[in-house]
């Protein structure tokens, strides 16, 4: 973990000081899945999530490569913030857009053909969890996704959400309790 963090710092440093495109491409590789997931849980649509995710990284590059901007210390906190803002902008521009639904069962079933029944059960269960997460308030959603899906540490999450570690722990505890209650109700 320490080695990964150092590498990330090194890449960020190269991007900011030398506009190193390859270093930025590596940061893209490290973060694209998490950012896409983060966006998808808020938007719920693959196509729009792809567009927004691409836009997030382009914005990140434009900021980091601009020598006139204040330097960024943590790429993680920085890129999640851009993603958060991008989602807000998207909702503002698409206030009346219908909420699209996902077909989790079909997507997961394609992958698991060895035991289709089990795969379908799993898919249905994941869809249930997904819908339960969507019912949480944004703060709880983010905490659950970042901690238990993206597997980030408490300190990393604290940087991303801009809170102290204790506050993050408290939020996580409440979020999981709420998620469990929501699943039990359904």
């Amino acid at each position: 973990m320490v080695k990964g963090k150092l590498e990330e710092k090194r890449l960020l440093y190269l991007v900011q000081t030398q506009k190193d495109a390859d270093a930025f491409a590596e940061l893209y590789r490290l973060y694209i899945e998490r950012i896409y997931r983060f966006i998808f849980f808020k938007i719920g649509d693959r196509s729009n999530s792809e567009d927004i995710a691409s836009e997030v990284f382009l914005k990140a590059w434009n900021y980091l490569s601009d020598a006139d901007r204040a330097p960024v210390q943590s790429f993680s906190g920085f890129v999640y913030q851009i993603a958060r803002n991008a989602v807000v902008d998207w909702y503002r521009d698409h206030a009346n857009a219908p909420v699209s639904s996902i077909d989790t069962v079909q997507e997961v079933s394609i992958v698991s053909t060895a035991d289709p029944a089990h795969a379908a059960d799993q898919a249905r269960e994941m869809e249930r969890v997904y819908r339960a997460i969507k019912k949480l308030k944004q703060e709880y959603q983010e905490a659950v996704i970042l901690r238990y899906i993206d597997e980030l540490s408490i300190s990393e999450i604290a940087v991303i959400v801009g809170k102290g570690q204790t506050a993050v722990r408290v939020t996580l505890h409440r979020a999981m309790k709420k998620l469990r209650d929501t699943l039990n109700e359904s």
Binding site: Y28, I32, Y36, R37, P71, D103
Partner: protein, 433 residues
């Protein structure tokens, strides 16, 4: 709860909330394509200097707050490591060397090392201050070269020209650094302006001494270079002070601090104006002397006869000489008038600037400072024109073989008075019989 956490973990690898592999690959290619077409990226070179790697390492190892606090210590560490080889003893000895000395290259090499260290560990403000220090040293070197007594005039002239050239370049570098620092580190605007104030007055003071030296005033090219150096110094100072006044208007700098830097800039411009006026007075004295000599020569019968006999273009040479002398005389008179008027305008603007500072109208005060600066440049331009005329007159003198006051039956009395008022006022009266 454990089961729920396991389910959540499972969602990381499966489900439409995960990006498609094709999208990830395409996204990366598109991103790189956009980046490379819009900007030129410079990946870290394979043969990066050890200092670059050290910088990256420092950035990784130390938190940003600690990096900032450790910057001076880091700089000292690097300089200290270099010193282990005994370099520092040589550098100390070279500190007082001037262009032409054996150790002067050592001094300049040490400065380059300092510059490299500051580039790595210092801020843009640190870099600007270092460049200002270098410019001050170049100015001191010019003075020291001029003060040398045991050099032949030819060597000294060359050494002075090289030193002034160096000075001009270092001031230009300092100006760029100051502008960059003001743009990128606005919180350092006041510190930078204060440093510029201090160094500018040292440089201008050195330039004044250089201007007064007879070796300089006899060399039109050198006079011009000294004036250009002074202009650069003043432009840098004005730009730095303007930045302070803007920050004061937005409340980021106190009125007291802003007034202080503006006042110091006014003093610097006043000193500079004096220096240019003094140079103008010197040049005009020389011009008057040359013109007078030529006027006498062109109207001395014996010389005209001699010239007619000895040269195939003797008679036209005499006519040319008279025409040149008349034109030169007219130029000098016009120049004197213009310099007087312009010097008065500069003085007026300086006084107005002082009054405006007293009444806390700093923006307007800076505008008056700019006017004074422009007027001072105007005087320099007049000086340049006069020097061209003087050179033409000298050329004609040489063609006629006239080296000093002519002897002969003819007697001519001419009185030429040149006066430069407001500032370094001088009155030169030349009487020839």
């Amino acid at each position: 709860m454990r089961e729920l956490k396991a389910q959540l973990k499972h969602m990381k690898t499966r489900g439409p909330w995960n990006p498609d592999a094709g999208f990830v690959a395409r996204g990366k290619d598109t991103l790189l394509s956009v980046i490379r077409s819009s900007r030129r990226d410079r990946p870290m070179p394979e043969s990066a200097l050890p200092l670059d790697r050290l910088r990256v390492a420092a950035h990784l190892l130390f938190p940003s707050a600690l990096q900032h606090a450790l910057r001076p210590a880091f700089g000292i560490f690097v300089v200290g490591a270099v010193a282990i080889s005994g370099w520092i003893a040589t550098v100390s000895a070279a500190y007082n060397s001037i262009p032409g000395d054996a150790l002067y290259q050592v001094k300049r090499a040490a400065e380059k090392t300092q510059e490299a260290v500051v580039s790595v560990t210092g801020s843009r403000s640190d870099k600007a201050q270092l460049h200002l220090e270098f410019a001050t040293r170049r100015a001191q070197e010019v003075k020291q070269v001029l003060a040398q007594k045991n050099e032949s005039s030819g060597d000294k002239k060359e050494a002075v020209a090289v030193a002034v050239d160096s000075l001009e370049k270092s001031i230009a570098t300092a100006k760029d650094s100051v502008n960059e620092a003001n743009k990128k580190e606005p919180e350092q605007t006041l510190v930078i302006a204060q440093e510029v104030n201090q160094k500018s007055s040292e440089i201008v003071s050195a330039l004044q001494e250089v201007s007064k030296d007879s070796a300089t005033s006899a060399n039109p090219e050198l006079v011009k270079k000294v004036a250009e150096a002074a202009k650069l110094v003043n432009d840098t100072g004005i730009a730095a002070v303007e930045a302070v006044v803007e920050k004061q208007a937005s409340g980021d700098i106190s009125a007291t601090d802003a007034k202080d830097v503006v006042t110091k800039q006014i003093e610097a411009i006043a000193e500079s104006s004096k220096a240019v006026n003094a140079a103008a007075a010197n040049v005009q004295t020389i011009a008057s002397s040359t013109v007078v000599t030529l006027l006498i020569a062109s109207s001395t019968p014996s010389l005209v006869v001699t010239t007619t006999v000895s040269g195939s273009h003797g008679s036209s040479a005499a006519v040319d000489a008279k025409a040149t002398a008349d034109a030169a005389s007219a130029s000098v008179v016009q120049a004197v008038q213009k310099v007087t008027e312009t010097a008065a305008a500069a003085q007026g603007a300086i006084q107005e600037a002082k009054n405006l500072v007293e009444s806390n109208q700093l923006f307007k005060a800076i505008q008056e400072v700019k006017k004074a600066n422009e007027a001072t440049q105007g005087i320099q331009q007049v000086v340049d024109e006069v020097q061209k005329v003087v050179q033409a007159a000298k050329d004609v003198k040489e063609a006629m073989g006239v080296t000093g006051a002519p002897t002969g039956a003819a007697t001519t009395t001419i009185t030429v008075t040149t006066t430069v008022s407001a500032g370094a006022g001088t009155t030169a009266t030349t009487t020839k019989k």
